[in-house]
């Protein structure tokens, strides 16, 4: 059995927190550049130009792309033949603490949702565990801003609502969000499972590269159709009008109950950050 020490996890999480906040993934840059080329509305062009300048400045100076450096969502895929020496949870939180401290990132976490006192080190991380075959550990850090998180919604549709119900709900969520989540946005959709699993699918959908479509051609087409519909809405960059309301729609699905059709829509902004490393 392979063994890794938990301090390796801390080092890795720390590095990923800093880099993910300063370096925008290549696929998102590609989407923004393509959107700029396709945009005909002057105001929208100007905003996309500034967004492009901004991610350049951020990477060059290793400065956060956005001041909301997010809650640290940390996805762990743990090989079942791997043994981790020490507490995984503590190791991840220590990585977040060091990354947000040494990286000059904003501490945006409050200890109690109602009492609202800041923990001052951006912990705890939101940790998601998956056990997978093998003896590796895959760590993804995705700092999630709440301007867009707050615009996300979940709905337990009826099976009779069907495909049309899903499409209408996704469009409604984007419409209600309007300018608030810093469009252009990335839309993560989770369909199926239970109430909680649908939300998790939607979040995981945001981790998938926007270069990739769903492997099922039916859902790949639905992703394209929804993207076109959203971009016909005219909301545009920052809500000032234009073609580019969304950069991508990513859908993930799973089996569900005969009586249900859960649909979750997790909205992300153009600062869709995530970075992965395998230990």
């Amino acid at each position: 059995m392979r063994i890794i020490m938990s301090d390796k996890i801390t080092e890795c999480v720390k590095r990923l927190c800093i880099e993910a906040n300063c370096v925008l993934p290549a696929d998102i840059r590609k989407r923004i550049d393509e959107a700029r080329a396709a945009e005909k509305w002057d105001v929208a062009k100007g905003i996309l130009d500034n967004i492009i300048i901004n991610y350049g400045i951020a990477e060059k100076g290793m400065q956060p792309i956005c001041q909301d450096t997010g809650m640290a969502c940390v996805f762990l895929e743990i090989g079942q033949d791997l043994h981790i020496e020490g507490s995984i949870e503590d190791a991840v939180n220590e990585g977040v603490r060091q990354g947000y401290g040494d990286g000059f990132l904003r501490k945006s976490v409050v200890k109690d949702p109602l009492d609202r006192v800041n923990t001052k080190d951006n912990t705890p991380a939101m940790i998601y565990y998956d056990i997978v075959p093998g003896d590796k550990l895959k760590i993804t850090v995705a700092p999630k801003g709440f301007g867009s998180e707050n615009m996300s919604q979940i709905k337990m549709l009826k099976p009779s609502d069907g495909l049309e119900g899903v499409k209408a709900f996704v469009q409604k969520v984007v419409e209600e969000a309007g300018p608030n989540p810093c469009p252009p946005i990335v839309v993560g959709v989770g369909i199926g499972g239970t109430f909680d699993k649908a939300a998790l699918l939607a979040k995981k959908a945001l981790m998938r590269s926007t270069d990739m479509r769903n492997s099922n051609p039916f859902y790949a087409n639905l992703e394209k159709e929804l993207l076109e519909k959203i971009n016909a809405s005219g909301i545009g960059p920052q809500g000032f009008g234009g073609l580019t309301t969304a950069l991508a729609v990513n859908i993930e699905t799973m089996p569900t109950h005969i009586a249900g059709l859960p649909v979750a829509v997790n909205i992300n902004c153009h600062v869709t950050r995530h970075m992965t490393e395998v230990l």
């Binding site: 792309i65 956005c66 001041q67």
Partner: protein, 184 residues
């Protein structure tokens, strides 16, 4: 063409600003998010003096990242404004003339803006690194315990913003989208 304006912002200048205008703000502005707004409004309601001069003030809804050595401030883009909606009418009535944020505002805020003469600017959400370069000086005025949410006095130079809602209640989120869709 961009309009150059100065903060503090007088009501005479507010009247000249129309939804859709691109502006460059220079001068002194303050930062406050919802936690700070709550405290300011509680003081105002108790009839106590406020720690900032609200008359003709421009308040930027931002919680910056910590400054690295040599920087005046870290990344500093706008936060979503609707969380300030419960508090803004009180500050507008006390003389606040400008707000900088992103996203929609409530009918109550827009009514107070029309009544008293105030304007709502949008800065580009998610461009914190870029906007940071327009902030030349930053110092904490009060509520240091709120960390990123403390009230700061900023000296800004040519901070790029767009008038989203003007003092007549014209709203770029409605007008811009409609005009764009009409071109199709």
């Amino acid at each position: 063409m961009e309009k150059r304006i100065t903060a503090p912002l007088t009501k005479d200048v507010v009247k000249t600003l129309k939804a859709g205008d691109s502006c460059l703000i220079s001068g002194v502005i303050y930062t406050a998010r919802d936690a700070a707004h709550k405290r300011l409004v509680e003081l105002a309601e108790a009839g106590k003096p406020l720690p900032i001069d609200v008359e003709n003030s421009v308040i930027y809804y931002v919680g910056p990242t910590p400054a690295k050595p040599g920087q005046a401030i870290g990344s500093a883009g706008p936060t979503t404004s609707y969380r300030m909606d419960a508090y803004s009418p009180t500050l507008i009535k006390l003389g606040e003339t400008g707000m900088i944020g992103k996203g929609k505002r409530s009918p109550e805020v827009i009514a107070a803006m029309k009544e008293c003469g105030a304007v709502y600017f949008g800065a580009i959400g998610g461009c914190g690194a870029l906007l940071s370069s327009c902030i030349k000086k930053a110092e904490i005025v009060c509520y240091e315990d709120l960390g990123a949410e403390a009230v700061r006095r900023l000296e800004v130079e040519d901070l790029p913003v767009v008038v989203v809602i003007d003092a007549e209640g014209n709203n770029l989120y409605e007008i811009g989208r409609k005009e764009y869709l009409e071109t199709l």
